[in-house]
Amino acid sequence: MTPHEVVERASGAGPLPPSLLVRGLSKSFGPTRALADVDLRVDAGTVHALLGENGSGKSTLIKTLSGYHHPDPGGSVEVGGQPLQAGVASSAYDLGCRFVHQDLGLVDTCSVADNVALTAGFPTRCGAVRRKALRRRTEEALQRLGLALDPDTLVGGLAAAERTGVAVARALADADRTSVRLLVLDEPTATLPDTEVKQLLAVVRAVAASGVGVLYVTHHLDEVFEVADDVSVLRDGRKVVTTKARALTRRELVEHLVGGELEEVSAASGSLPTAHAAPVLRVQDLSAGPLVTANFTVRPGEVVGVAGLTGSGRETLLPAIFGAIPRSSGRVQIDDVILAPGRPDRAIAAGLTLLPADRVRLGGVMSMSARENLTLPALRALWRAPRLRRRLEVAQARTWFERLDVRPRGAVDAPLGSFSGGNQQKVLFGKWLRCAPRVLLLDEPTQGVDIGAKAEIHRQILSAVETGAAAVVSSSDYDELVALCRRVMVLRDGRFVAELSNGALTVAEVAREALGSEDRAA
């Protein structure tokens, strides 16, 4: 489509132009296409749910709308009939786009009124804040969303759904609030308890009723049927369907999300021997945060997968086993050693290692060199008083770079932060392999990693397991779990609801169990 046609169509639209009109939007990162030719239309006063698995291009789409990413030439984005200037952050705001991200960006130590006024501006007289006017204005903004909150309450003391409501109120509060055309909610319910979701959905409906178009990004299918007018599904950067929510069954939605053609059998892991040895890792009655209870054992030579949606307890399982976060109860045992809670150093000594999901914040010390990161957990082997054996250390680092194919190959002394994500992850993976662990806990081991690095990390996991270690892989990438694991345990609402293996272990089945689709395939 030529730009001319786009303009013609837009000007030919009715009196109420759609809140958002995306046509032929693509975004490539180097050779990979994160978004391919996506069309999307959000009408004013409707809720449009956007679904997609991790890596389907949802966040790229939102970041393109917000002006963070510069899209490939050819596509167009219009907000309320006005063209969006690609890659300009202020353009989206000026046209009336408002974003509420999963991290709400509220100041906990300030009151509700102050938080709202941070965007809308404080009403003042002679430079002093007019407290009563501020209070009244905030109350009005909250009431429009059906929220009965005291504007003077501190945000830190609110329930999760109320906080999200305040963030929405703030996004909509404006000196001239008729200018808001589109509200983008990025997984607002991911961390909400079930009881509070309803409250938030009421807020979303209230927003739409005021004539604003809502783009609602979520993982939870129930919400789609409860709140959305239209549904679009993204898969592998392409939009696979847009339809009325009423016209859709839950089962159809799951199939759209997962894709029929992805039913592959487990590949490499099929040949792995399941040892008859005693379990190397025993987890009993473990509970921590959203994780209600977990019981399982892992034998040497096994790769066990853990699947589950955000908020299902999947994110807390591995850190709680390792001792990275406190656990409220339960017992973790490596061979004969019972691990003390909250003591990663003892866990490592017992042969347990954790590759955290958040590489930058928890995974590595970015200011230290790759070599120093590699050797950090097991420095004693390099220590011969009074000095560390630098030459041996460099040689070991080079060997690991070679073995894991870290690039650039010679840069063992460059700061870890200067490597690309995939290579950082390889270094951190090597750091744990170097400890010759009994059990590898791998949390999202290939998140944000390119395809080459992903394959390499998978190879290394399997080869580590072949030599008698065990691995537990927690991942939101079901393809990865099915390819790597002989059995996958699925968490939903803090409990294991299924254990899939052999023929039952398919991407679609894992997704169905994780989503909690009732009418599941036989």
Partner: protein, 357 residues
Amino acid sequence: MSASPTTRPRPGLGFDRFSGLYLWALIIIVFGIWVPDLFLTMGTLHSVAAQQAIAAIVALAVLVPLAAGAYDLSVGATVNLATIIVTVLQADKGWSMWPAIGVTVVACFVIGAVNGFVVVVLRVNSFIATLGAASIIAALQSIVSGQRQPLPPTSRAWSDLTQREVLGFQIVVLYMLVVAIILWLVLSQTPVGRYIYAVGGNAEAARLSGVRTGTWTWFSLTTSATLCGIAGVLYASLSGPSLTFGGALLLPAFAAVFLGSTQLHPGRFNVWGTLIALYVLATGIKGLQLVTGVQWLADLFNGVAVITAVAFAVWRQRKARSRRDAAASQRSKGTGSAEMDVGGVTPASGQQPAAVR
């Protein structure tokens, strides 16, 4: 394929890493031409070296906790207390020198241990904890001294401790070098140093790598206070007890450490960088004082230096981060970390570093 230059930013002439040394040479040349008969003398060399030796030990005391990510603002007060304790024990209580020194250093060790306890166990921010500790230590000093300047001990051994010369330099310069070499060994050549830098670099990542972060934070604060004890003893022997000397050292020490973190191993607080920075500053101040004769130059210089050094370090980090973001956007997916989660238009999205584009 060889190492790509984009991932290893190393300028060819090392102006970045060795800028302090170049600057030092420049200062010496300028003042050498300007006031050759005053500046280019062995006397100037010896006096700058000796005057700054104790300041250097205090700077090293500040360096260790900073490497572990903790501030120690109580160094000045601890030095003062040490000068008083070691003097009172000898002059008023009649102790002999070595027991007095031993007790002084142990007392300072205890101060460090308490600082460490407050920071590690009570989880008080180190900045606040040591600021409070400095005030408490000042009160202790008043109690010990009875609020009067004690008379210096008269024993020969006491003055011989520091008032001797080795190769024309006062022996304190040698003591300082010994302390520096030991610290350098510990920080850059042993696992202890690695752990300390790891805690300073990313405490949570270090903890998840099995590093006992609390232990090493405690250790760094204790080392700092113990070094202050040694500095105090040396100062008392060299110049007599002082109620105020330590306080004046705090800012120059921080200036040297921060400026030093831009040298030799940029981005890392390091021993030799700190000493270079300290002596570059001291040489410049000395030269200007010889030319102008005014005393306030040192205050001005040190204040400007600490702000410049930190501004420079922040600028470097920002540059490194924007390079990392550029590398990140080459990848197909986001990292999934909060850092990549770019805010749209909400004001608080400014808290996310990537939004500051």
